[in-house]
Symmetry: C2
Subunit: 81 residues, 2 copies
């Protein structure tokens, strides 16, 4: 089973990288761009066919390693095969 | 209109960061984890209500700034509001 984990900064946490992208887009002439935030995307292949078990394992991984839950949210998306 | 852009390394491009995560998960006792890849997630608020126009602008942004198209793929997901 494959999974994609979206890790994003919580609202209110300063995101200088996103701000830099926003400014760079402005300099390139892209108008009307607001509130750019950069996060992480982690793709994992898991040797587990049960969706509930896979989700539980992935949640555990996020809590223990992948996300800093003080400042980051995570969101798990499972896909078959 | 809000958009989420997924930027991932192309297949065959070495991903040392993903490999490091894979090894760290192994050390923490998570078995059966295969092929971890790390990418980027960029959230943008666009001042544009037409989905086709928004997609065209975002594609342009990816080509010009957000993704390195030599080694990275990008994938645009639009969401309302």
């Amino acid at each position: 089973m494959k999974a994609t984990i979206h890790i994003t900064l919580k609202n209110g946490v300063l995101d200088p990288q996103g701000k830099a992208i926003e400014n760079a887009l402005g300099s390139l002439g892209f108008g009307g761009v607001d509130d750019v935030r950069q996060g992480k995307l982690i793709e994992v292949s898991l040797d587990e066919s049960d969706a509930d078990k896979a989700r539980a394992t992935l949640t555990d991984m996020c809590e223990k390693l992948l996300a800093n839950t003080v400042i980051e949210n995570y969101d798990i998306h499972l896909s078959e095969a």
